[in-house]
Symmetry: C2
Subunit: 478 residues, 2 copies
């Protein structure tokens, strides 16, 4: 009647892990994750080699150092999925230390590529703050409660074997059930999965930087002028400082104009929870809780709805994913180029610093995708002739906003109306080349960076197409 086994090592043995197999993990706890390192250490210490890792997001924080060690020792020879993780893994890989080329995609691409059989998992490790002895589990209660288990649902569904690791084992049945026992082979109890306070690293905060605030104001005015902010609209906004500022301004606007949106989606933050509680959204769809306010809400608000990564963004799921029904999304970028291609994977020196997340999924799905970024960083212009890495192709981006003004992607016929609306609203709209020129007048045109000549990762669009690569580090990288 019980699937509980004594140790992680026992569970891995029982699952029959072998050299050459793929293990999968998810990044629900993000920077608060204190268990992935333990999982990797177990695999390392059991003497496995040539293991492939599929992670829904980057291997973050201290866990990244274990992952890097596994790569250097040949324990991990390929990384697939949502990202690398900048603390260790990315740098190790970009120094050319991993045997196989990584294959990275978006949050929606991952479940699609599992369903296609392009990705596979022989053994999934699922982290659950609340789990019964048969493996029924959720993320809502317990010391390490992190809310939605949306990414892990993909692993449960597609992995050949599943181990649930929990620090909240219950002898009695648990409810609600996010992942049920029919997917679970073994349960392992541990002291502590991690610290949900640290999911986003530090406390999420509306930007106080005047430049970012100006960008946020422009973004909010674009939303207002766009015509989308009306009863029944849908939106996603992230957890960055600009996104939170826009969300806060939007909240005031919606309350003042008595607009009630149908739903918000994300990565959910307290900002969205407050809007739901104020009746500004009827419901929230949540694949990843970003702070404790969101986590607490998921445990008590029935209209804060947990969704799988497939329901969130899988482009091929037969019944359709929710990003397809987004009206608007607020996105960030490390760089953008004159064709509106966006880079979120690397900094301007080519160092991989993040995964694609849901950037491409929401940008493609939403009717209006707004990318916000400063015009320059450390005197480097952020509008380039060609981004260092294409994370989201420009045909999915509608508007770019920086502190110097706004550029509408009029290469897309559908944006002719938007362009006029923003002009009518007296917003500072420029052609993107004009904006680039304005920026370069301040920064100069920097010498192009030279990347290394070895591909270390394929960047896969959400449909599986290779759209760019990560390379070994060049002369300008640190």
């Amino acid at each position: 009647m019980s699937k509980v086994v004594k140790s992680l090592q026992d569970a891995v043995k029982l699952c029959g892990l072998q050299d050459g197999m793929t293990v999968s993990i998810t990044h629900n706890l993000r920077l608060g994750d204190q268990i992935t390192g333990e999982v990797l250490r177990t695999i390392h210490d059991m003497g496995f080699h040539d293991i492939r890792l599929n992670s829904s997001g980057g291997v973050m924080g201290e866990n990244g150092r274990y992952a890097a060690k596994c790569i250097e020792d040949g324990v991990i020879t390929r990384i697939d999925g949502g990202g690398l993780g900048k603390t260790g893994v990315a740098n190790t890989i970009q120094r050319g230390n991993m045997k196989h080329i990584a294959r990275l995609t978006t949050h929606g691409g991952r479940p699609k590529l599992f369903a296609d059989g392009f990705y596979e998992s022989d053994l999934a490790f699922i982290y659950a703050p609340c789990c019964d002895k048969r493996g029924n589990c959720n993320g809502r209660t317990g010391n390490s409660a992190f809310g939605s288990m949306g990414y892990a649902m993909t692993d449960a569904r597609h992995a050949k074997k599943v181990i649930v690791i929990t620090d909240g084992l219950s002898e009695a049945p648990i409810w609600p059930i996010s992942i049920d026992q029919t997917y679970v082979d073994y349960v392992v109890e541990v002291e502590n999965l991690g610290d949900p306070q640290k999911i986003a690293g530090a406390a999420l905060r509306i930007t106080r930087d005047p430049i970012s605030l100006l960008i946020s104001e422009y973004a909010q005015k674009i939303l207002e002028a766009s015509g989308y902010i009306k009863d029944g609209f849908t939106m996603q906004a992230g957890s960055g400082g600009i996104s939170l500022a826009v969300t806060s301004m939007l909240k005031e606007y919606m309350a003042k104009h008595q607009v009630c949106g149908e739903w918000g989606m994300g990565g959910i933050t307290t900002a969205f929870i407050e809007m739901m509680h104020q009746g500004l959204f009827k419901a929230l769809y949540d694949v990843q809780c970003f702070d404790t306010g969101a986590i607490e809400s998921m445990a008590k608000d029935p209209n804060h709805i947990e969704i799988s990564a497939s329901m969130y963004a899988n482009p091929d799921i037969p019944g359709g994913c929710l990003v397809n029904d987004l009206d608007t999304v607020i996105l960030s970028a490390t760089e953008i180029d004159v064709n509106f291609n966006v880079n979120v994977h690397t900094d301007s020196l080519g160092n991989c610093i993040a995964g694609a997340g849901g950037h491409g999924d929401t940008a493609q799905g939403a009717k209006l995708s707004i990318v916000c970024a400063p015009a320059y960083r450390s005197r480097l212009p952020m509008i380039l002739d060609r981004v260092t890495c294409i994370s989201t192709p420009g045909e999915n981006i509608d508007v770019f906003v920086c502190q110097l003004g706004i550029a509408v992607n009029t290469a897309l016929a559908k944006n002719a109306d938007l362009f006029l609306r923003l002009k009518d609203a007296k917003l500072p709209v420029y052609d993107i080349h004009e904006l680039q020129f304005m920026i370069e007048k301040k920064t100069g045109k920097p010498k192009p960076i030279v990347l290394g000549n070895k591909v270390v990762a394929d960047i896969l669009w959400r449909d599986g197409t290779v759209i760019d690569h990560l390379y070994t580090l060049g002369d300008y990288s640190f």
Copy 2:
């Protein structure tokens, strides 16, 4: 953004139904179902032929007459799944009117046979009392709320196309989500799905018949003597008069002896809800609500947990199904034989009157399966040399109880201890041949019935093995 189409006919067209394909339906509303007839009439009137029907249970009530007409007109040429339905379908088939042999199995066998590809569904009709425009749905609210959608989850997962039919369409997101939009192709709005008050036909009632009460008392004493009724035990009991009487007696016993079970499962009735509310069970697992008390509870009690048919009873589901963890189950029978084989499919004249339901699943899974039935019906003895139809092979039955006494299946070595316990408790335990002899002293030994000579249905064990057949009607059938 909306999957709502104007009519059932439009939805069927859009799904590309063709002659020779299989459509699947579920029996959540049972005798209160007022929509299956409409579905069948649509298929009939659209001119389809050679359609195969896969239903989770019998096609009941008036719907059975439409189904029978479809069979007679060659619109439906095979029936697979959980049952036939005695109002029309069974009789039509047993008069030899259906082209192909039906392939019937248990509640757990159905999802297994879908997963194996032995069953398939080109188009599933899912009935949902509450559904949003994207197809997210549940059975908890709305005029026809029937609670758990456990059986329909199988159809959602395995059908190539899915139409949700609802009489509670919501423009806004609904929650909780029992079947999500990723499985759903179209949504059709109708006036009325049915009457949940009639799910079980009439109001469920503890038996008042003195013979049935005596049987119930014996069953309860077996439970007490068995040693299973202790903290943390698990059980299932059905919705029949004897089951409800046993449940009621057990409730008193548990309250008096301060026993708290881990969970109850079923087909859930108000009787179980009351036990959960009294703290006698920590949770209930529910694949089918049997009355309005159960339906109302599912809408408000979080520890009344909706489960899929797979989680309930699929013998091959990797993580294991819940029937495997049952301590005890109370079951019925139309007949039993000296090898403890049980018939629930036919009466003693060979007329098919029911499907296997979860009988075989729970009998095989539970540590102690108790079959209750009267010693004789209309002067026909109910212990036979060989049952008219084997629904559950005797190796899965531990005890038979009738008003004349109790027989333990001691052919199973595991039951030696149980036999002694019941003897020690001074219960009237006999060898089953002895019991048969006692009954036949009263009834005489009837002339064996002669069934028709054409097989009309295969009876498949939950693993897919053919264990018996239904035949055309013989001379003694009505």
